[in-house]
Amino acid sequence: MNYSRADLVQTNATMNQLRNAIYHLQRFMKRNNITEVRSRLRRMGKNIAHTYLNTWRPIEKVTFTNIKDVLATIYRNVLNSNISIEVDEVNKRISIQDNDCALCKYHFSDINVAGCEIIGSMVVEFINIINSRQNGFKIEMQDINESKVFGHNSCRHVYIYTGGK
């Protein structure tokens, strides 16, 4: 009897090799003239969230009140990351800083799309699927402002939210 996906949720795996693999995949994409690398990485993140949510979900409803805790929980439980979160209520922006990003560690001068695009789109999909039956709070990915892949000290994921309080 093989492992189930529910079994996998209970354990951790080392990401070092697979993290490098994302950048080799990008090089392979570029070598084959694929221009929309970013949207492809984002598609990967969305697909991961779809399957992941069948096994684990952080909460039944995401609101403006609990969004920070939901994000902290997703980053911690899925990625083993401790993040800091800033919410800008004026511009409706959520900015997440991850000093130990699971998918970015080294600076690659030949890479122009950060691996954590996958993480950003996965997080968006998590929240939007959880809230899909409710007309309320939604988020979308704005940008990866900083990434270790580009030589920064940490990764910064910026989301825009709608729906408010």
């Binding site: 009897m1 093989n2 492992y3 189930s4 996906r5 079994d7 996998l8 949720v9 209970q10 354990t11 951790n12 795996a13 080392t14 990401m15 070092n16 090799q17 697979l18 993290r19 490098n20 693999a21 994302i22 080799h24 995949l25 090089r27 392979f28 994409m29 070598r31 084959n32 694929i34 492809r40 598609r43 990967m44 697909n47 991961i48 779809h50 399957t51 992941y52 069948n54 096994t55 952080p58 909460i59 609990n66 920070k68 805790d69 939901v70 994000l71 902290a72 929980t73 911690r76 439980n77 899925v78 990625l79 083993n80 401790n82 993040i83 979160i85 130990d100 699971a102 560690k105 996958i118």
Partner: protein, 490 residues
Amino acid sequence: MGTVQWLLKKITKIFGRSTNSLFYTLLYREILKEIHEITENEEDSLLILREIGKRATFESCDRHTTIFRFMPGNPKKVLEYFELLWVVVFGKELSEEDLSYEIIEKKDSKYNDYLLKIKRCPICADYGNDEMDTFGFDKIVNKETEGLACGLAGMLESVANYILKVKKNEYRIRIIEQKCMARGEECLQLTCKIYDKIEWRELTSEKLQDKLNSNVVIDEVDEDVEIETESDFIEKIQEILSLDKIEELLDEPLEGVKQKTAELIREKLNMEPERFFDYFKNYEDDMIRIIGFLFIHLLNEYGGFVEKIFENETFAKIAGYLFKQFKEFTFLFIPIDVINDYHNLLVAFLEGLAPSEMIENIKAFSGKQDIEFLFEGAQLALENLGIDFASLKENVWEELRKERENGLISSDQTMRDQTEEQIPKIIKIIQEMLMLLSEILTLPIRVLVSEGHYGLKTAINSVISEEEGLFGQIKNRIDTIFDYIQELRI
């Protein structure tokens, strides 16, 4: 499984950057899907996934060359240490029940082939049960094509060959996935074949590009690129201390250990043991301090983990208090006779290896002095790494934090909150370490008392069996400590 292999597995696991296993598996699936989007050919996709796995792993190994210099240097041993390869690649332990070996004899060859069967494969877990699991195994025509875990097989092959290259061995290993659980087969089955240099060159002469049926392009990389390693004194030490040699040493009784140590010093350092130890004559106390000093620096060697922790002032202070407490407990709880037994064991080990004058000097120390020298050396190293012992005061215990009612993790954790959260884990580690210490301390008495056997291993395992005896207890205790440390890192 040998002790050192087990310990190295634990260390390797701790220093990798981990995520949840389900995230790992789904990311792996998505990489294959994206490759397939480009190739539109299932067989090509698997070939490219394997290649990406190999390249990604080579890159990772190349950043940590030092650790691989301690690994065994012949292909048979590398495969015998398969569980270690698995942990390097995957960070997950492979239970002994899940792994079985079969040797396929090759009469005309120096090495046999191996068949490895792994009962449970995390890559294939529940594959096919979700609408996103879309890879079309049914479209594969070529029966030689590997399965879903081919990327993993490529990673394992890459680690195995990296070790052989680092150890300047001429043989290479090919690891191929033969059976795949995602294809409905009963287990993950890998064949491992060992090739000499000429056979390997022939095998790898066909370019990956030529094997592909689709129009995709993949750059070739030179598989047999030389790995540069510095030729220094450390390298000589690493040759002596390679994993398999340490395992052999641990299996020998004390006299055998002495004999083996002497042989190794003669063989690798080209000098008589007496001359080697002569360097430390009249500096015996410093020699013991150096052991304590080096022990701490060795802990820090891999990734500068200890130093990184001490960059945080709070953690540096906690570690300082722990060290002080550990030092006090040693003299408070360990009977002086036990400490003296250790001293006698050190003297017994050096007799016949070191100059008699040096042995006399060491005999003049008491067991308590030995321990003090060790602690002095360790303290010096800890100061180097960032603990300011002068600023330490009395212990301060923090109250445990209550868990939040909705099960979510607070996003507003201050450094103080995070430290409070870590403290119960640190306390557990201290408890386990103290228990471990008391178990280890019963060791020299057993060794000295068991004259009939006069073997360290017999003494350690003298209770019932290896797993139930003292050795088993120590292993379990260290297992628990590693688990707690891992919790602390997340």
